[in-house]
């Protein structure tokens, strides 16, 4: 094929296609690059940086970086793993993650990422920020304590639902997700069937009255690390 792009990930030769990102090309080759803000079907956002790889020695977000002929990508090296681990650690201490009673536990991508990296506890001091919960909507609630600012809800509502229910406000450590109403989620046009209600990687946007439906041991990441489905495709 003429639009084939040859490049290398961790010493392995990969054939990508013109227009693919490094993350997509890797995935097609059965190589899982960890990610949190990225979700198939949403515009890449490049914000969480968990998918960082070294491209010819420079850190890049693989979910937004296009493939290019001859690039040398480092993904599983100790240095890259350390960068990712530090980011995961920071995401935990910057929020209030009480996994022991979180409805998302076992199905949470942030928690699963920490498990995949074998993190027994984050190394940075806990911030315990003051954040709120918006339970005004009859079917959906937002718990800002668990939000990792991945922007999936923002993108899904805007691009898939055509509504723009969520967006970011403020900056730096004060950045947070706000709703398109005076204050409450109940006053937006969010519907329980919106895509935006399904995409949150953590327990920050959840459906009411369905928590803990799946027993411990049977949840998404109880037995198998996140990304194993992609890696399994390779061995076939």
């Amino acid at each position: 094929m003429s639009d084939t792009i040859n490049f290398i990930i961790d010493g392995v030769e990969i054939q990508g296609r013109e227009g693919q990102t490094i993350l997509e090309a890797a995935e097609a080759a059965g190589i899982y690059i960890p990610r949190l803000c990225h979700l198939k079907g949403l515009t890449p956002h490049g914000s969480c940086r968990v998918c960082t790889v070294l491209v010819n020695g420079r850190p890049q977000a693989s979910c937004t970086q296009p493939v290019a002929e001859g690039i040398v990508v480092e993904s599983e090296s100790e240095r890259v793993q350390q960068i990712r681990r530090d980011i995961i650690d920071m995401l935990f201490v910057e929020g209030n993650h009480f996994c022991m009673f979180c409805e998302k536990s076992g199905n949470c991508e942030l928690q699963a990422m920490a498990y995949r990296f074998g993190i027994p506890t984050p190394k940075f001091p806990y911030q315990f920020p003051k954040r709120g919960v918006d339970a005004s909507h009859p079917d959906i609630f937002v718990d800002h304590n668990r939000c990792i600012l991945c922007g999936r809800c923002v993108r899904a509502s805007r691009d898939l639902d055509g509504k723009h229910v969520f967006d970011f406000v403020d900056r730096g450590p004060h950045k947070r997700v706000a709703v398109n109403a005076e204050a409450r989620l109940a006053d937006t046009n969010l519907d329980a069937s919106d895509k935006a209600t399904e995409v949150c990687p953590v327990g920050a946007i959840l459906r009411k009255r369905v928590g803990y439906a799946v027993p411990v041991g049977k949840r998404l990441y109880d037995e198998k690390p996140i990304g194993s489905d992609i890696e399994a495709a390779k061995t076939k």
């Binding site: 009480f98 022991m100 076992g106 928690q111 806990y126 315990f128």
Partner: protein, 181 residues
């Protein structure tokens, strides 16, 4: 040769992690062959009798007494392990961490829906340990050598870690044994 000694304590915890330790079932018989318990609620020994190989800490630090006990454990134990989410991240008690202390007291002793306190007194006896401004995970107070997360960590997690340490092997827990819930 004398058996290595293990000490345990529950700081700002609920004793669930100790229950999980008892949950190793009949392996507890093997455990008493491997170790002697020193200061611990398991045998009700109140003070250290000497140097211990391993100290298991359940719970974080919510008051000054917790800090003193934790420092005492650090002094007496070669290896100190944070056991459970309260020890590793503060846990449920740390939910008060972004609420001012005064409001916590008011809720607990004056305004809470189940409070009956006609004299409106807030306990203030000098015997009572003072609360800290917030609840601290153990590694923010003393050096901790290993962390076993979980609420509580499963009996298998505790067993695997203890057996590895007692046989001088690295603690390499399999995927299914590192859990935060």
């Amino acid at each position: 040769m004398a058996k290595p000694k293990v000490a345990t304590t529950s700081l700002a915890g609920c004793f669930g992690c100790h229950m999980s330790l008892l949950d190793i079932d009949d392996r507890i018989l093997k455990l008493v062959e491997l170790v002697d318990f020193d200061k611990s609620p398991i045998d009700d020994i109140k003070e250290f009798s000497g140097r211990c190989a391993i100290g298991l800490i359940e719970g974080g630090c919510c008051n000054e007494e917790n800090v003193r006990v934790l420092q005492d454990f650090r002094k007496h134990c070669d290896i100190l392990i944070s056991v459970g989410d309260c020890a590793t991240m503060g846990g449920i008690p740390a939910m008060r961490n972004n609420i001012p202390l005064e409001e916590c007291y008011a809720e607990a002793y004056l305004d809470g829906p189940t409070v009956h306190n006609p004299s409106k007194q807030i306990p203030n006896d000098p015997e009572l340990p003072l609360l800290l401004n917030k609840v601290y995970p153990c590694h923010e107070v003393v050096k901790i050598d290993y962390h076993l997360p979980g609420c509580p960590p499963s009996a298998d997690t505790l067993w695997e870690a203890l057996v590895a340490l007692l046989s001088d092997k690295p603690v390499a827990l399999p995927y299914a044994l590192i859990k935060y819930d």
